[in-house]
């Protein structure tokens, strides 16, 4: 017989299953800078930061197929809405709140399916900077809106560390180059935190032989960790810019390697 206890236990198992798979995801950092919004991450092979619509972009950690699924659903939804009504009517509040979140929640609770493994970060460039926002959408359908910055990482503790590294900079005094540097620092703090916890679980720590962090001061550790990660990974960063050079409505732009290298050089 299926009891209420089974129900909550089953959900717990699903949560463990998903969180296990999210833990190693490369974090994503979202920061509002003076003239736009930035999404920053480090990837191995697959693209990670995507354009959704004229004023929307998206990145996520999780299972590649689930990320694609949510990405395509968002793109379809936005373009259909943008055509049938107006591009001005495409909003994250509607997309995330009314479509994506309920579908994720349903998938999470449905014992007959494999749950979505995803934690997604959306960005929306508003009509004015006060209307800019980020949305973090979790595998269970929970979502939250943030104004100036938002992150997704494999563990809550990593996300906390990242947010504390970012702090609360004054947006008007934060040009893109500075935002990139800050995002790189936040990424390193989050990724290293998740990494450390993983190592604790497997009886391995940063002072072991072979670890690039052996003998490194705590103050420099995030940076050393970042340089080490960049040997195998590539920074991927994209922006939604309020004052674009082109004549189209699209505000999305992937940053060039040169821009990224200049901003994140030591």
């Amino acid at each position: 017989m299926y009891t209420p206890f089974d129900f909550s236990e089953a959900l717990g198992h699903r949560k463990d299953y998903i969180e296990d798979r999210l833990r190693e995801g490369s974090p994503v950092v979202g920061i509002a800078y003076d003239t736009g919004l930035l999404l920053f991450t480090i990837r191995r092979t697959q693209r990670k930061v995507y354009e959704i619509y004229d004023r929307h972009m998206f990145s996520a950690i999780g299972n590649q197929s689930d990320i694609e699924n949510v990405r395509l659903a968002s793109i379809n939804m936005a373009h259909q809405e943008g055509f049938e009504r107006s591009p001005d009517d495409v909003s994250l509040q509607r997309m995330v709140g009314f479509s994506l979140s309920p579908a994720l929640k349903k998938g999470y609770g449905d014992q007959m399916t494999v749950p979505f493994v995803i934690r997604a970060l959306f960005a929306e460039l508003g009509k004015s900077s006060s209307a800019d926002c980020f949305f973090v959408l979790n595998f269970d359908g929970e979502y939250r809106r943030a104004a100036d910055n938002a992150v997704v990482a494999g563990t809550p503790s990593a996300e906390d560390r990242m947010l504390s590294v970012i702090g609360s900079p004054l947006r008007d005094e934060l040009p893109l180059a500075k935002a990139l540097k800050l995002a790189a620092e936040a990424w390193a703090a989050g990724a290293r935190d998740a990494h450390k916890r993983r190592n604790i679980a497997s009886d391995f720590d940063e002072s072991d032989q072979g670890s690039p962090l052996k003998g490194v001061d705590e103050g420099d550790a995030d940076d050393v960790f970042l340089r080490d990660e960049l040997k195998v990974g590539t920074i991927e960063a994209a922006v939604l810019e309020r004052k674009p050079a082109q004549r189209t409505e699209a505000r999305f732009r992937l940053l060039s390697e040169v821009e990224i290298a200049e901003a994140t050089a030591k």
């Binding site: 619509y53 004229d54 395509l72 793109i75 939804m77 373009h79 055509f83 049938e84 994506l100 998938g107």
Partner: protein, 282 residues
């Protein structure tokens, strides 16, 4: 509304084996009127009192380094001038223009459709739609309008001009009402005044020089002369006595409007060289 389904299969998603990045399929699913052939009860034909608004004359000519589009500003419904500031040369992406003639409502919807469709494709597949793909997309929407066009409303004829970065040259494509696509080496024209000036293009190419060898300024002057003749010979085409025409170029650098000042200057020169016109531009 599109939903990702709880079993993990999204509408149009990669793992559902359905084509993604296809606006037409999305609109068909939502029952949008663009994708449904209109079923009017009777054939309204020419006898109906219902008349849709029509754009009139648009012209595209090549020049050294690109393509120039010129259009008058008039939109008419039967003998009424509905609007004298219509824009009939519209960008559908960063280096493609659609010049429209015929049913204004249909044409505007098609322009919005193409813009959205190209963007949807590019965002889905992370690469721009090919020129062939874009031309096929336009043929599809022209063809979808046939049932209505047969009933006497909604017919429209586009000219698509673009800068082809692979060939490093401007290109001009025109269509017939069935969606057949033709490429023109020198020029294209559509709309009510286009037949009246059809021979003038050939005269210019044969007696002066091919458009693609002209400078931008030469091409602009010839195109404005052509538009002036169309306005003279076609009642529905607007002249420039009241509102300036629109002129837009596409080059390797993208789409640029010809400035009002430049238009005024060329027009003033043409007017000055036309004896007996007697009307000066504002």
């Amino acid at each position: 509304m599109i939903q990702i389904r709880p079993n993990g299969i999204g509408s149009g998603a990669a793992n559902s084996m359905e084509p993604a990045g296809d606006l037409w399929a999305l609109l068909e699913r939502s029952g949008h009127p663009l994708t449904r052939s209109n079923t009017l009860a009777t054939n309204v034909g020419g006898a109906s009192s219902f008349v849709d608004t029509h754009g009139t004359t648009v012209i595209a000519v090549k020049f050294k380094g690109g393509v120039l589009n010129v259009g008058d500003r008039r939109a008419t419904a039967n003998f009424a001038v509905m609007y004298d500031r219509a824009e009939k040369v519209l960008p559908i992406d960063d280096h493609t223009l659609l010049a429209i003639s015929g049913s204004f409502a249909r044409a505007m919807e098609v322009v919005r459709y193409l813009r959205t469709s190209f963007k949807l494709f590019e965002r889905t597949y992370l690469q721009p739609m090919s020129l062939e793909g874009k031309l096929a997309e336009l043929a599809k929407v022209v063809r979808a309008g046939i049932p209505e066009a047969l009933q006497g409303i909604g017919g429209f004829i586009p000219i698509l001009t673009t800068f082809d970065h692979d060939e490093n040259e401007g290109r001009i494509f025109f269509y017939d009402g069935m969606g057949a696509r033709f490429e023109s080496a020198e020029f294209g024209a559509a709309g009510s005044g286009s037949m009246q000036i059809r021979g003038v293009f050939d005269y210019i190419v044969k007696t002066r020089k091919p458009f693609h060898e002209m400078t931008r300024e030469e091409a602009l002057r010839e195109a404005l002369y052509l538009l002036d003749i169309a306005a003279d010979l076609d009642a529905a085409t607007g002249g420039w006595a009241k509102v300036l025409p629109l002129a837009t170029t596409i080059t390797a650098q993208g789409i640029v409007d010809v400035s009002e000042d430049e238009l005024k200057q060329v027009i003033a020169e043409i007017d000055a060289a036309s004896p007996g016109r007697g009307l000066s531009l504002r």
